[in-house]
Amino acid sequence: MTGTWLITGARPLGRDAADVLVRDGLIAEIGPGLDEPGAQRLDAGGLILLPGLVDLHTHLREPGREDAETVSSGTAAAALGGYTTVHAMANTEPVADTAGVVEQVWRLGREAGRCDVQPVGAVTAGLAGSRLAELGAMADSAARVRVFSDDGRCVDDAVLMRRALEYVRAFGGVIAQHAQDPRLTSGAQVNEGEISARLGLTGWPAVAEEAIIARDCLLTAHVGSALHVCHVSTAGSVEIIRWAKSKGWRVTAEVTPHHLLLTEALAAGYDPAFKVNPPLRTAEDARALRAGLADGTIDCVATDHAPHPLEDKETEWEVAAFGMTGLETALRVVHQALVEPGLLDWAGVADRMSARPAAIGRLSGHGRLAPGEPASLVLYDPSPREAIDPTTHASKSRNTPFAGMVLPGRVVATFLRGRPTVLDGKLAW
């Protein structure tokens, strides 16, 4: 189904309607009244045209936990959510801490073909936090790894974090930190505050995130490297990152859709669908995160798509796994949380969900709607309002916290380098 496509009447970045001619995998032309005999036509009247979305934070679970997700099912979910690139996190089994594993994940993505898979390499061997993994070997591999993270675990040893930040300068890499002081969060279950006190669950204090972020910003400045802060969840973190950026330090940050929209109050029913790490925070935190994303302090939205099989979620709260799926709902959540209240326009959405995450991942060919650019695109219908139905999801797991929630919008089509992966809201093949 590759070939020449003429997409008519779409609104690039939500602006005036235009036609888009896609040829040889590239955007050939954008403008009104285009015609191309023989092209396959897609009537996109009223649809928003965005560059294909880029997720910096996806757990594809393969290799090791194929019961939760595979590269194939995860990239199908990504395509349905409008994504054309996902960064696959390293906490697989075996851990993606060698050139061999990252190349395997990268190849699985190429074979699946619905969405580019850019592996994230582990910072420390086996995520054990004691010595650096062979970062250079992963950087030099076919997967060309540039983002390194022990996500799920914090690189809490300050010397090791310093060395990692320094070491990746050799190949222009970035350390993506899961900011969580392990001693302050031993056994932590929910945000520490009134709710944790009432529910009798161990608290996860905001300071455990903020202290690590502050330290890492200072380390990054000291050694002149680049830091990316994963899933920022507190108002204090936003302030620290704003300060670090004001100094001109190379610090970037992401926020998840769930932290933008949901709050700790949802934990009151002890439903593990709402159990996630870092935990859902207060309404005040969520407000600060939305404002931070809107003003650019937080660079991008990243899903932290974390699929878990039913048996790991249908349990008592304290034994349930942390994590939520997110690829298939992210754009709609951002629509609801930022576009509808007027905090972000569609150009802003394209920036925060495509251009900036691609830049942080050191990827080219993403985030721009212009002739000559790769035709990785998403067409989004902003008008419907429907409840989220997890049974329709392509992800192997169903642990979405948005089940039953009415959200605006619908991804109609996704193109990966000129080839449709999603048409009429369904997988194209």
Binding site: A125, R131, L132, A133, G136, V159, R163, Y167, A170
Partner: protein, 273 residues
């Protein structure tokens, strides 16, 4: 005892050239059947080594003895230093005993003469290397263009202020190097998280035959020793015709002789501080 040579950075270009010219002259002694000059007869040189460094000590000892000085070796290990004596008191004691010169563990390395525009690439553990520090200072004083190549973890944070270029990619640096100097990776660094594994270090920053082929035709390979064959330098590179590692040792003795000679012989040309 009022002359000092503490840092290569204290040497002017004239000083450095004087030392090297003197070394050149003294070098010829090594070719004689009797490798000895009477110049420093009756003078006493103390080698005061706070850190074990066999090569450096032997080199200084040979240099002093060839100039007929009496040599006393003093290792900090097992001496009053381990009992808490300060450096100042140790030095005063040695002076009272009649030492004319005290060599405190420091290393310097032989270098050729006119270096204008010579491109020298120094590779490896710059952070912990006296050799690299001395070389950057001295070589740039002598007009060479120095490039440091190392994992960023093994470069000092403020390396940007040094008179040299800095890179992380050895393959990119080699075709532009007239001289490549490989630094030793010390055992204790290997397990201190400066780099992931010895293999990765060797893969990215080790000089093997394939990398040596990237050097210009006239390019030479140096190493201040002792070498870790198979880590920063492959055996076939260390033993190749391009390697000047053995000559470096011989030159090291000559340079040390020159320094001792200039510091002790009362030569009024030498104005090292």
């Amino acid at each position: 005892m009022n002359r000092h040579l503490i840092s290569a950075g204290d040497l002017s270009q004239d000083d450095a050239v004087l030392i090297l010219d003197t070394a050149d002259e003294l070098d010829r002694i090594a070719e004689r059947p009797v490798k000895k000059l009477p110049t420093l007869r009756g003078r006493t040189v103390v080698n005061l080594f706070y850190e074990d460094s066999t090569r450096t000590r032997i080199s200084f000892e040979a240099a002093a003895k060839r100039l007929s000085a009496d040599v006393i070796n003093f290792s900090a290990k097992g001496s009053s230093v381990t009992k808490g004596e300060s450096l100042k008191d140790t030095a005063l004691t040695l002076e009272a005993m009649g030492a004319d010169a005290v060599v405190i563990r420091h290393s310097a390395s032989g270098a050729p003469h006119r270096l204008d525009g010579l491109r020298v690439t120094i590779v490896g553990d710059v952070l912990h290397s006296r050799v690299a520090r001395s070389n950057v200072l001295l070589l740039s004083t002598l007009g060479a263009e120095v490039t440091l190549v190392a994992p960023p973890t093994l470069l000092p944070v403020a390396v940007g202020s040094w008179p040299c270029a800095v890179g992380y990619d050895l393959d990119a640096a080699l075709p532009k190097a007239d001289v490549v100097m490989m630094l030793r990776v010390q055992q204790e660094r290997m397990n201190a998280a400066y780099f992931p594994t010895v293999r990765e270090y060797s893969r990215r920053y080790g000089l093997d035959a394939a990398r040596m082929a990237l050097l210009p035709e006239h390019g030479i390979v140096m190493h201040p020793g002792p070498m870790n064959r198979g880590v920063e330098i492959a055996a076939e590179v260390a033993d190749s015709v391009r390697s000047t590692i053995v000559e470096q040792v011989a030159n090291g003795v000559s340079v040390r002789m020159a320094v001792l000679y200039l510091l002790l012989s009362g030569s009024d040309q030498g104005d090292q501080r």
